[in-house]
């Protein structure tokens, strides 16, 4: 009887051990989500914060690429409008604890078409747990975002 209990306990320990190992080896599957946070635009050496900005993160089916849409961003305080701007073709690299975002150069979309004047360069960022951050240059505007996933 003692032998049987020992074998079951040992098997259970092995199974638990295997489960842990399996999880550690699986990269995070990117999920579509909405994040709310602060967009900071650097203009003439000063930082300008856009608070409570919604950002849509939309990965493709394979999970290796995504687009990010920043809603109602204002690049400079004196800009009389806010715009939605979408950055397509961001490469994703998922690991077991984060998703890395990277895009060297892409023309974003806004106002119904491509906007070369806000060309995106040097985009890099991460999704860790429920937090998203990224930084990039919108044309000549260094911009960053940090926000949390909106829980519905």
């Amino acid at each position: 009887m003692k032998k049987t209990v020992f074998i079951i306990a040992a098997l259970a320990a092995v199974l638990v051990s295997c489960e842990k190992n399996d999880k550690a080896d699986t990269p995070i599957q990117p999920k579509q989500g909405e994040y709310v946070g602060v967009v900071t635009v650097t203009y003439q050496g000063a930082n300008y914060d856009n608070n409570d900005i919604n950002v849509d993160f939309a990965p493709n089916e394979k999970g290796d690429s995504a687009s990010v849409t920043i809603h109602q961003i204002r690049f400079v305080p004196q800009m009389p409008v806010t715009i939605d701007i979408t950055i397509p073709g961001i490469a994703l690299n998922s690991t077991d604890d984060k998703i890395a975002l990277k895009c060297d150069s892409v023309i974003p979309q806004a106002m119904g078409g491509e906007v070369p004047r806000y060309k995106v360069t040097g985009l890099k960022g991460e999704i860790v747990d429920d937090e998203l951050w990224f930084s990039l240059n919108f044309g000549s505007f260094p911009t960053s975002f940090r926000g949390a996933r909106l829980k519905k």
Partner: protein, 740 residues
Amino acid sequence: MLLLRTFASAMTPMVLISIFMAVWPLEDTLALQLPSVTISALKERVPADKVASSMSAISFQSIERSSTYRPNALSSVVPGLHIPDYGASLTSTIYLRGLGSRMENPVMGLYLDGIPVIDKNAYDFDWEGINRAVMLRGPQGTLYGRNAMGGVLSLSTFSPCDDYRPTVRIEYGTANTVRAGLSFTAGKNALSATFRHTDGYFKNAFKDEPCDPYDGLALRWKRVDCSRERLSVTNILSVNVSQEGGFAYGLWQDGTQYPVSYNDESGYKRLSVIEGYKLHHCADAIKTYATVSLQFLADDMMMDQDYTEQSIFTLEQKQLSGTGTIELTVCRADEDALWQPQTGVFSFLRRNRLTAPVTFKRDGIEKLILANANGHIPGDIGRLAISDNEIPVNSDFMIDTWNIALFHESVLNLDWWVLTAGIRVDYEVGAMDYDCMARLHYRFEPVMNRDKELTVPYEGVIRHNHMEVLPKISALFKASKAVSLYSTVSKGYRAGGFNTQIFSDILQNQTMNATMADLGVYLDKPFVSVTARNTEYDPETAWNMELGMRLSHGSFSAGISAYRMDVRNQQLTVFPPGMSTGRMMTNAGHSRSMGVETEFDWISDRLRSHLSWSWCDARFVSFNDGNNDYSGNRLPYVPEHTLYLNIGYSFRLGNNTLDTDASLRGEGPFCWNESGTQREPFRLKANARVALVLKDWELFVRADNLTDKTGRSFYFKSVGNEFFASVKPRIIMTGITIKL
């Protein structure tokens, strides 16, 4: 104090006449009968001379002599009544005692042979065979309910029971105007028909053609069956069909009045049918009156709504409405009893399908939409372009209205006093189902390289309900057979409703915001307008306090009254600021009006004279539209004075007669807007008529606006521009009336 001074001034001649009559031998006074005492009002269960209310009665003869064949001809004839003659038949704008507005519900109830005309678009029709017009002035809410807050006009056509000779009339005159009429009785039936054509009195300079031609036909049939001892049944059928141009509005800019000149099609077509039954049953103890009617109206208005030579925007408004009304009243059969109570119930249900598509044309797209939108968008971001030559904004409405009322009025008929007290509880439910949509093709340059279609729907339902309690108390003192004094305190109300004409503005702004949202561009100052919820407006209520006096002596009769009205939720047509395309009814806080109204008649064998005069001081007590405070200012469109003076004399030419009549009609001064910056002085127009009257026929010539006086009859704003309608020029008509 002003009211008291004016009332005292107007009363002085009345008091002198009263004193004169007091010393006149009583026998003579008793022998004289005021013509009006034989005239009964509509729902009052006592003779008209015991009604404690201001009343004007216009006889068949006066109607014929003054060629009163449309309601607006009663302007100034009824003191204080102002119905400007402009626009088209649907613009039955009525002002009375400082009350009134240019759109939506009227301040005057209209009854045709006892049938209430519910739809204001059917108010303006050609009269023929009208035997009598009686106007009760002041709130008549207790017996007549909604919209009778300024008064009630009751038109009675000839009855088959009347001693009436069949009559044919035809007249012709200025602007190829032809008016022909026929009325006769046959057995239990009375029939009348009238046709009117005119080429129009105003020219559209852009099209080089008259802009206000008119063709209209009106038919009326009345059947009275009194064959049963206790029951009489009256059937009334009224059919009016017309097609006309209209909207003779000229631009007013930098102090210059420009001629009427617009490029898009404008006109109005209407078919109106009213079918009603009246039953009167007399039992031993009680009398029962029942009135049932079905009313149908189909009309189609097309309007160049910018009224300019530019292609800015047009409106086509089609209405298809059906209404059913029912009223049941019971009262005491013994008319000589001391106490005369009556109790009744009234209800109507109206369904109105209204389609009002607005089309923005190329100039309007550039000026109203693109200029507005691109004015908000920084140039370095881009600019909006719309490729459409026309943007249709479809607006469909289904408006249902249901009203039910219970009322009671008791009259205590004492020797010297007639005391009246009444109350009405009026409950009304309204619902507007709106279904609007705009569609356009836009491009945001230089980002977009091709057009994108955008559809903007806007739909929903708004409901409201209101209950009004309308009390009345009055006392009439019969100082003698010839002199009576009365005092009345009463409340009336004008129904609330929904603004449909502002939806073009709402859709225009909704479309711009939707376009921006579709682009992902958000303006710091978005296009703002009212929402559908704001298109609802409340009932307007008025308390009226009135003192009056009536007297008669032989061929002389007179009436004078002084009133003060306190108006809450004053309904006022306003034009939203800026380049707005719509107009809307709003409740403008609190206003009051006070005034004096007088009428004098002296009719002898050959000489007849009539004088009507009114003074009205109507002002906002408190009205702030969010931009300006208009408190203390005069209410727009309300004439401070109305005046009508008619003198006629009949010369005997053997067995024949030469009738001559001359009249002066005046109204004003007016303020055209709330701020009082646009004003119109008091103006008088002269009219004249000469008729050779033989036994069976009559030849006549008449002239309206004999001196061809110019003036302005109406004012409004559209797309930031100001417009005036001019008074009609001199019109001379000649014709013949044959009595068969």
